[in-house]
Amino acid sequence: MTKMKKTSQICQSKLPDNTALKQQQLPAYRLQLSATGVLSGFFATGAFCLGVGIILILSAKSIKEIEIKYTKICANCAELREDAINFDKECTCSIPFYLSETMQGNVYLYYKLYGFYQNLYRYILSRSNSQLVGTDLKDVGNCAPFSKSHNGTPIAPCGAIANSIFNDTIILSYNLNSSIHMEVPMLRSGITWWTDKYVKFRNPSAINLSSAFTGTAKPPYWSKPVYELDLEDTENNGFLNDDFIVWMRTAAFPTFKKLYRRLNRVQYFIEGLPAGNYSFNITYNFPVTRFKGEKSVVLSTLTWSGGSSLFLGLAYTVTGAVTWLAAFSMMAIHLMLKEKRTLFIERFETERDRA
């Protein structure tokens, strides 16, 4: 008895297991493009895209935006900045403009650069996160070609990104009438990512910021060292400077805008920017003409999805429309061929049976 059992076991050992996996019999859903499935999918997707597209277009239309390119307007400043010798000469430029409609709600002020390549391979690499997080000021390993000053002291903040920081000052003033010019109150805070401000950028720990940065040099193009960026607000000084942090978040494309300030909704500006005469007072420091770039200032409001452009809405609408078109034509083709196909299947089956 036991012997028999044993032999049968031996026999079984050679016989492959009868499991669904090994016999390729796993239960499975066979994916098949059925007409109803495909067509209803198409109609549903089309409807969704059209809906989203229309909503996006409508909300994009509600955005008020104004952009002023000031490279040409401030041509004299631009010319001055072409020559590096004039780095200490101040040049300001005032750009008046008229806001025909009130900009409701939160208003954001951006600067926009044209033709500035923040996405070059070597440019993006040229920074030291361990320095910026305040742990190792001397770590300038990746910062070539701006890692050390002439005398060999490490630069803080090092690297090409930090060195090329956008350093124009933009002040928006509201001309209530021809005599009263008031500066529009702007907030500097809240323009950075939370993680940037509180994780990625940290000042070296020391009682005094300037002492913390001893033994480092300022980037060559900077007019003042990093610990003097904002002497009034320690939370905005050193590596924690908001403008610095915003600049350090490199842009994906050569044309980009970066958030500069946001409207502080007080007094006249509780509702937003009222219509009227305004002017930008710009301290022009950042040279762009050398690389044929351009600068502009942008004022913009937002909607629920942020500052979405028309592109996304249009793309959705077009996709939705095309999908519906495709769905209708597919349905037509399917209905036309249905009879033929049933016939074909029948013939196929009979032929199979005959074979």
Partner: protein
Amino acid sequence: MGLRGAVPSCGHFFPCRVSHGIAGTLLGEMALCAKKRPPEEERRARANDREYNEKFQYASNCIKTSKYNILTFLPVNLFEQFQEVANTYFLFLLILQLIPQVSSLSWFTTIVPLVLVLAITAVKDATDDYFRHKSDNQVNNRQSQVLIDGSLQQEQWMNVRVGDIIKLENNQFVAADLLLLSSSEPHGLCYIETAELDGETNMKVRQAIPVTSELGDISRLAKFDGEVVCEPPNNKLDKFSGALYWKESKFPLSNQNMLLRGCVLRNTEWCFGLVVFAGPDTKLMQNSGRTKFKRTSIDRLMNTLVLWIFGFLVCMGVILAIGNAIWEHEVGTRFQVYLPWDEAVDSAFFSGFLSFWSYIIILNTVVPISLYVSVEVIRLGHSYFINWDRKMFCVKKQTPAEARTTTLNEELGQVEYVFSDKTGTLTQNVMVFHKCSVRGRSYGDVFDVLGHKAELGERPQPVDFSFNPLADKKFLFWDPTLLEAVKMGDPHTHEFFRLLSLCHTVMSEEKNEGELYYKAQSPDEGALVTAARNFGFVFRSRTPKTITVHEMGTAVTYQLLAILDFNNIRKRMSVIVRNPEGRIRLYCKGADTILLDRLHPSTQELLNTTTDHLNEYAGEGLRTLVLAYKDLDEEYYEEWAQRRLQASLAQDSREDRLASVYEEVESDMMLLGATAIEDRLQQGVPETIALLTLANIKIWVLTGDKQETAVNIGYSCKMLTDDVTEVFVVTGHTVLEVREELRKAREKMMDSPHTVGNGFTCQEKRPSSKLTSVLEAVAGEYALVINGHSLAHALEADMELEFLETACACKAVICCRVTPLQKAQVVELVKKHKKAVTLAIGDGANDVSMIKTAHIGVGISGQEGIQAVLASDYSFSQFKFLQRLLLVHGRWSYLRMCKFLCYFFYKNFAFTMVHFWFGFFCGFSAQTVYDQYFITLYNIVYTSLPVLAMGVFDQDVPEQRSMEYPKLYEPGQLNLLFNKREFFICIAQGIYASVLVFFLPYGVFAEAARDDGAQLADYQSFAVTVATSLVIVVSVQIGLDTGYWTAINHFFIWGSLAVYFAILFAMHSDGLFRMFPNQFRFVGNAQSSLAQPTVWLTIALTTVVCILPVVAFRFLKLSLKPDLSDTVRYSQLVRKKRAQHRCTRRPGRTSSRRSGYAFAHQEGFGELIMSGKNMRLSSLGLAGFATRSGSGWIESLRRKRSDSPGSPPDKPLKG
């Protein structure tokens, strides 16, 4: 996995002269191959004189099939691996990445996978080689007895040298190619079995030349100093020419005197032989051909595509480099304030040059190394499915199917030509006496209780032969009526079995009383004599002049007067015997076509019924013989014997004169009956062949057997049917004859009125692109039968194409009497000119070369020899499993591999081309779009498993359907699912996806802002958005491509997405950043970007736009141009399952063909028996006979052998 790169650098069998201890380095190894011995002009070997023989440096008897030793392994293996295009490509990339100016990706993105792949392959190669070493050692260390310094010494095979004299004993393998010197049998005869060599299981006789046959004892052999001068080593198994110089005389030598390595000595106590060829020079080794590393056509295509892609890469690199140079010249120089050029860069041109290499690195992911790894994994999976398949498990032999190579699976789905051995593959090589017809009554059908013909499996008990103590226990017969007739003493039945017990050339051996063993030259004869034995007519013993038969228990000795031997023209044999009463009677058995014309007119009525029976037997695929007798009166016989003697003494045209004398006496015979022998087919062979034929697979049978046997099997396994319009037989001996016969065959095919295609199978003709010649369009079915010697001519360079064209136009091709090498040559011919995938299936050592040559070699396991299995790529124990291997496993493997490749190229182009578009926006600075971790993990983690799951598990139609609709196999043969066109479609789809995945986010990001007002278009957010859309798009795409969603697929697809997001968030987490601030720069990015509705809207849009067109195209294709598998799938939905089982065993149809006769023994054996040369003196008890005839008969035998294997062209078998 990782089997690539195992291309042997030179021939398989090196001369085994690697000196002991000294490691042959790579160079040494190469030099050994390059500097082969100058071709030998002639071979000289002197017996017992090692010093003299050493001069010639002949190869020793050691064989080497292994490729490496411990020291050469690493360099040789690496060298081989780097001969692979892909490996070199990755090595090159790796070197590029080490140059800092050029490196745009971290070095680890390439080196880790490369090392992994190389290591896995190396381990695999090492294990394989270890086993080769082991088997080499085992063979080389076999013992043999060598005559050294006058005494026999045990030596290992590998130490046997040319010129040595070795002693062989019964049932031993012959160690090298030997010149037979002497043997235990009289006249220096010995018997060998050549199954290992040519697959023929019948015994062959070899004889020593008379001068040496007396050298029976060691002392005389030790003094023997003859010198053999012969042809150089070659692979012709049946030819040998040389001479022995001894005692100042010259003795010609022929193949008749040779024992070849691989044969087994049988029925001979011992023999001595002189080693002429050893080791790699032996005919066996010369015939084994080279081991070629087999690749699938998809492998080759992939290598081509990799080269193309590399070209494509270079083009893109050039475009981007030019772009970079221009950009640096126009913009970059001015931008130097913010980003000065690298110190090494002095001009825009040089910068462009560097960026070219950078882009080559970045874009290399179009052919990721994971492609090769995944391909191997998938193939491994498919191999396991084959191993695990219970439906390919042979219960009787307890052998599962085995995929011995894991690299060829998808090729199984593309087979167009199957080359099959006959014996042991299609047939079981068991001859069974199945039915007979005695005086117009047919015996052998089994009836069940109700009187219906019983089918196999429902048979009652076999006939009980216990009355007969001499019966063979293994013999089974089911029809009791025959035995009853015998027992009743029916004279006709008695005469019938008497004939069977007398008319043959079988030798008997009786070791103990009653234990009879028959030594039959052909299994057919053995079956007939055994049948007679069991029915009470026991052939007991014979002398040259007598035959002793136990007839129903009483011994009767007949005087044997003459054997009218068989030959190919006569197709019959007769004996003339005098019974104890003194009556002389001629017993004849032969092919019905011949014999029925020679009957006495009085038997007309009997002839008609017998003919009916014969037709019935032939229709069942049985091999038939007709039996007849004739009484001769004394005077006539005396007169006839006189004439026969004269004829046999005639100097000229002896053959013809003898034939006419024979002809004269074999006339006006009385019909006795007919026998039907079953050359038992393996189970399910006809069904398998029918199914494979429906799947458009052409089956060629290549066999060492005789033409008649082969054709007969062709009929019984339904390769040849009555539908075949004509069977062309090519048996020409000269080039001209063969050419003429081929030409005639072609003409006939062209001329024939185009018959109507029979049903479904023929209506769908191949697309015209496949037509290589008009001949392929031939309507009607033809078959070609070609003989070995005609084949030799047909395979010559100037005729091979003609032959191929003719053969390929035929539905069935049978090559008979072919040598192992010819088998390989035929396969090679088809392989070379047809661009079709070939599969060779066989079971014996004689099939090894064919198995190695074909794209896929299949070995039948569970048989005696395992050489075929060892050389094969797949093995199983039954021919019928071939249908499952091809139609189910092969088809699925091909489908899965193609879908896998399409998807793989798609996903990598979609992934990589994004960098190209981004180049235009980042000053061509070789900035990647994605995070480098994403680049590293994309192929390994995020997208590898779903596509692997699809590649391993996908099914388009259930397995039963692929058997039901063999036409489903066709896409593989036509290479439809993955070819250059499909490749371009995938690439186009990939590029389309890359465009959308890049430009849609670009369009959105260029203007948009986040909901907190900050810019959206920062580099990191863009990278995350693009990467996420890409992962989602390719995941949805794999979801669409997966036709068979198992739990595993679900797990992998959803799992991959989950893992992507998990890794994304982990990589962007604060913790990792705090530890490695410089390595994890994307801190906070995932949380921040993926919280933006705009980002999600972008991802959703990208997915929709990438996927919908694909769905639309597929849907339209399904509606407008469905292929067969679509239709099958659709029809599954439509119809209710109809319980129906195809391929049931069809009852044997009656066929009009009736000439499958069962003679398989060679001509000349009768003469041997009559001379008594093959009988031991002791068993004869007759002393005087030996002096009777000199070497005359041997001469004539030799002459016949050398020029007879042919007969004048036979008539077409059916016409």
